[in-house]
Each structure stands twice: as structure tokens, then as C-alpha cells.
């Protein structure tokens, strides 16, 4: 296969990347703003897909499918929130429990079908791999709307309270903010956005699979970190909140571009998760190693040695 197939597939690649970027925006809320490692997203991404597929199969519009997926995700986030704040379960464990429970719940939603096809021939879908350019425009507009809402919301009094909760809970309490409520609410909106992305992803690929959320958290983190590294390199001190959000989505596109290239190079699809893990590890390690090499003991010793000589 020549490079033409890769280029011809580019709008589709970008669209899928933006869908992952939207998911990463949701993960950004918990991971970056709330400082909460929420692993429930692997489950809620698939929940979004499952709910959307069932709504569409029942003959209702894709609009309702997206709304109900959003609500289902919000409920999933609420469960993690309750497990953590009311029942005192540590953040990672609370997320894992929800994720595990959602696997069964997702199968119930799809009436025990591990894979629910929603063909664009039979149903009217929001986005489809068949119409790549349309899909690209649609998801791009949606991503921009979500970024705009997030930018506004986290600048409001409520949004500031959520951000404060993430950076310093003790101070936040002293300012009269209910820290547990803020954490739970952050989880709710985060998982709602993730499920919304799951609903888009299922329609784009023409099916909702019970395993579609596997590795969602890592892909989300990959997008966030890739975006952050590039944004820091390009804008340095000029970086602000809206740029950060834009680059989260850009990170998603870039991530999926890597995947597309690797697939195009005929690497076995089963190795994809391994490949993703390696990408994330590299992007996590590079900033750390760079800062370490800037302030290393060996270099300090060398400098000191020269001065003394």
C-alpha cells in the first residue's frame, strides 16, 4: 500500500483523534484539575457507546443518543464520587471498582451482546467513518463547543472552587467550600464528557463494543501529555487555559496519527496497546529526563571541577 492510502484516510484519522481528544478533555478535569486518578473512564467510555447504540437501534435520533450517553456517564461518575467521598475508598480503587462494575452494566445495556452494530445504512448517525470529511467537521465543532464551555465554566465561581479543591483541599475547606461535593461533581462532568465521546466513537466506527473502553484512560493521558509537551515547547510562558485545552484535543489527533501510521506500516493490530503504553511512557519520561539533565549532579561536579582547576 502506498502513502496515498494513509493520506486518503487522514480526515478519518483526524476525526477519530478528535473524538479521543474530547474524551481526553473529560479526563483532563479529573487528572489535571481535581488531581484525581479516575480509572472509571475505561468503563464509562464503553457505557456511552452502549447507551448510544441502544437508543439508535430503538429508532430514536442520534441527538437523544448523545444526550442519554452524557447522562449515563454522569451517573457512572457519581458512583465513583460516592464510593470515594461517602464511603472513603481511595481514588484509584474507587475508579477501578466502578470500571469493573460498568463492564457488567454495559453488557446489560446492550442486552448481553458484546458487540452491537449500528450501520450507517440503517440508521441516521451523528458521525460515520463512511463520510469522513463530514464527520471531521462535526467532531471539530463539538470539540470547540466543549472547549468553550469548559473554558467558561472553570472561570466561574463554581469552577474555581473545583480547581481549588484539586490544588489544596485544606485551604478550600477553610474558604467554606464542600470539598467532597466538588470532587463528586468534577467526577460527574468528567465521566459525562467521556461517555459522550464514547457515543461519538461508537457511531463513527459503526458499532458499540463492550471492550471499546479498554485503555481509554491511557489514551486520554497520552493526549493530555502529548498536548502539554507540545504546548509548552511552542508557547512556553504564554501558555494559558484555552491553549492547554486546545492542545489536549491536538494531542488526541497526534496520538491517533501515530496509531494510523503504525497500522499503515502493517504492524499487527494486537500490538497496539503495547505501542500506546510505550508512547505514553516516552512522553511522560521526556520532560522528567530533560529537567534532570539540566540539573544533574554529574554536571554540577564537572562544573565545580573546572572552576577549581
Amino acid at each position: 500500500m502506498g502513502i496515498e492510502t494513509l493520506i486518503a484516510g487522514m480526515p478519518g484519522t483526524a476525526a477519530q483523534g478528535i473524538i479521543y481528544g474530547i474524551m481526553a478533555l473529560g479526563i483532563f478535569i479529573t487528572f489535571k484539575l481535581l488531581n484525581f486518578a479516575d480509572l472509571s473512564v475505561d468503563g464509562s467510555f464503553a457505557t456511552g457507546g452502549a447507551v448510544a447504540a441502544m437508543v439508535i437501534i430503538s429508532g430514536r435520533s442520534w441527538m437523544l443518543a448523545l444526550v442519554l450517553a452524557f447522562v449515563a456517564g454522569a451517573l457512572a461518575g457519581l458512583i465513583t464520587g460516592v464510593l470515594h467521598t461517602v464511603l472513603g475508598i481511595p481514588d484509584i480503587l474507587a475508579g477501578i471498582l466502578t470500571q469493573l462494575a460498568l463492564y457488567s452494566i454495559n453488557l446489560r445495556i446492550t442486552r448481553n451482546q458484546p458487540n452491537t452494530p449500528i450501520s450507517v445504512d440503517k440508521y441516521n448517525l451523528a458521525v460515520s467513518l463512511r463520510y469522513k470529511t463530514d464527520a471531521l467537521v462535526t467532531v471539530l465543532v463539538m470539540a470547540i463547543i466543549i472547549i468553550a464551555i469548559m473554558y467558561w465554566y472553570f472561570g466561574t465561581e463554581m469552577g474555581s472552587a473545583i480547581r481549588a479543591t484539586g490544588t489544596n483541599p485544606a485551604m478550600t475547606k477553610a474558604q467554606g467550600i464542600n470539598v467532597n461535593l466538588m470532587k463528586a461533581f468534577g467526577l460527574v462532568i468528567s465521566n459525562a464528557i467521556v461517555a459522550f465521546a464514547g457515543a461519538l466513537s461508537a457511531q463513527f466506527n459503526g458499532n458499540a463494543d463492550v471492550n471499546m473502553g479498554r485503555g481509554a484512560i491511557v489514551i486520554g493521558l497520552a493526549s493530555i501529555i502529548i498536548g502539554e509537551v507540545i504546548c509548552n515547547t511552542l508557547f512556553k510562558k504564554k501558555r494559558n487555559f484555552i491553549l492547554t485545552l486546545l492542545f489536549v484535543v491536538f494531542g488526541g489527533i497526534l496520538y491517533y496519527l501515530f496509531i494510523a501510521i503504525v497500522l499503515w506500516l502493517k504492524m499487527p493490530a494486537n500490538d497496539m496497546k503495547l505501542f500506546t503504553a510505550i508512547i505514553v511512557a516516552i512522553f511522560l519520561a521526556v520532560p522528567y529526563l530533560k529537567s534532570k539533565s539540566n540539573s544533574s549532579f554529574r554536571k554540577a561536579a564537572k562544573r565545580g571541577g573546572k572552576e577549581n582547576a
Binding site: S160, M171, G176
Partner: protein, 265 residues
């Protein structure tokens, strides 16, 4: 303004680590009283402040602030009546947020937080003026992240945040202990200025006897979870460190070892 009556608190009750931190501590502060709190390590000074702030529920006793019984209110609900500054400069502010955002968070203490802007333009102008009064050069760094500030700057900012809306009671928990002597005295000056300017009711825990004597119009000494010494009015004005040491021996029945580690002159 503040009535803390017979407060009791035991940590790790029934275990080998059982520690009676408050054993019937009582304190009544009138409006405008600035009370310094001294006592050795483990005397219950910080515990007393935490009890008032509602970090955890007390085992016994009651706390009333300006006529409102707050004994049953959790920390975030009690916060509307209180301004707090902590020993660790990292505790009082959100490091990842801007100076103006931190101040705006404090300005909305006890108010319903809705979907209005977190910081408005008119607020920024007001904060600019307030920071200018501190004379720490912070007024031109409104949008800088608080994490970039020094410990002293952060404590001064926390003080400003604690008093941005007049608290019923200002709680200062050794808020200068982590600062170098020069910065500590600057922060103390700011503290005194703010308390006088707004006629605040305040409690200040300190390990420094001289500061405890020089500042405020009331002084209490704590020992083993109780208030053992209570000095106010004229007596407070003429108090010396020698008096204080003498009084401690009288009241506690033990000889004061003058341990500079515990209570520095």
C-alpha cells in the same frame, strides 16, 4: 464574640496512642479582643484552634460564635465565620492558582458559588489596592501563580484573604513560625495592622513570649489541654516575661524550666 466552653478532645481513644489534647478548655472573647495563646509543645494550643475551626468534632463542650452555636457544623460550613492562617505557608493558599483567583475564592467564603465569573474586573482593581498596602510588590503580580511566592509573601496573602471579608474570629496558628525573623516581624506587623484596621476578634498561637506580650490585648497560657492563665486589660499591658514565668510556676505548681526550645524569649 467567641465562647468556647469546656472543650474536650481525646485522640486515638482506647488505644496505646491515646492522647488527651483538650481537657476542658474554656475561653470567652469579646468583640475586638486580640488574644495571644502560649504554652509548651502538646499543651493543646493548635488543637484548641482546630476545635474552633471545626477540623473534627469535639468530644465535649460547646462553641458559640457571635451567638450562633457552631458545635455541630462541619469545617466548610463554619468557615463563613472564620478567617484562618496556618503555620505552613503552603496550607493557606492554592499554589496552582493566580493571586487574584485565590483572593476571589476567599472573598466568596460562606457565599453561594454560582456561575458568575470567579474574578471580576472591579475585584481585580480592589485587590490591586489591597496588595499595594502590604508593600510587598505583589500588586503588579495579580495573575502570577501563588506557588511562585516566598513563604512570607504567601503568609501575608493568606492574612489578606482571611480578612478580605470581615471574619467573626481570626485564627492564627503559629503563622510566623516557619518564617525567618525579619519576615516574621513584617508579617506580624501586617497582622496587627489588619486586626486594628478592621477591629477583629483574633486568636494567635505563638511560641515567642515577647510577641505574645507585645501584641494583642489579651493573653492566655495553656497547659495539658486547659487554659491555665488568663491575662487582660492593664495587667496585660504591663506584663513582662519574668512575670509570665513566675505566674506559670504559681498556676501550674511546677517550676518553669525556661526551656528556650519550648518558649523562646
Amino acid at each position: 464574640m467567641l465562647n468556647a466552653n469546656n472543650l474536650r478532645k481525646t485522640f486515638n481513644a482506647g488505644t496505646i496512642n491515646e492522647k488527651v489534647a483538650l481537657a476542658g478548655a474554656t475561653l470567652n472573647l469579646e468583640e475586638g479582643e486580640f488574644c495571644t495563646v502560649i504554652g509548651g509543645n502538646g499543651a493543646g494550643k493548635s488543637t484548641f484552634l482546630n476545635a474552633v475551626a471545626g477540623v473534627w468534632p469535639v468530644d465535649g463542650g460547646s462553641i458559640t460564635i457571635d451567638g450562633v452555636d457552631v458545635t455541630g457544623l462541619p469545617e466548610h460550613k463554619r468557615a463563613q465565620y472564620l478567617g484562618r492562617v496556618f503555620q505552613d505557608p503552603m496550607t493557606g493558599t492554592a499554589a496552582n492558582m493566580q493571586i487574584d483567583e485565590n483572593m476571589a475564592l476567599a472573598a466568596r467564603r460562606g457565599k453561594l458559588r454560582g456561575l458568575r465569573w470567579g474574578v471580576t474586573k472591579s475585584e481585580r482593581e480592589k485587590y490591586h489596592e489591597m496588595l499595594k498596602e502590604l508593600d510587598l510588590g505583589l500588586e503588579d503580580r495579580l495573575t502570577a501563580k501563588v506557588g511562585l511566592l516566598s513563604g512570607g509573601q504567601r503568609q501575608a496573602l493568606t492574612l489578606l484573604m482571611a480578612t478580605i471579608q470581615k471574619p467573626k474570629v481570626l485564627l492564627l496558628d503559629e503563622h510566623t513560625a516557619a518564617l525567618d525573623p525579619k519576615t516574621a516581624s513584617k508579617v506580624l506587623e501586617i497582622t496587627d495592622m489588619l486586626i486594628k484596621e478592621h477591629n477583629l476578634t483574633a486568636m494567635m498561637v505563638t511560641h515567642n513570649m515577647r510577641d505574645a506580650i507585645n501584641y494583642g490585648n489579651r493573653l492566655i497560657m495553656m497547659n495539658e489541654g486547659r487554659v491555665i492563665l488568663n491575662i487582660s486589660g492593664e495587667e496585660k499591658k504591663h506584663l513582662t516575661i519574668e512575670d509570665l514565668l513566675h505566674k506559670f510556676e504559681e498556676v501550674s505548681g511546677t517550676e518553669f524550666t525556661n526551656d528556650t526550645e519550648i518558649l523562646s524569649k
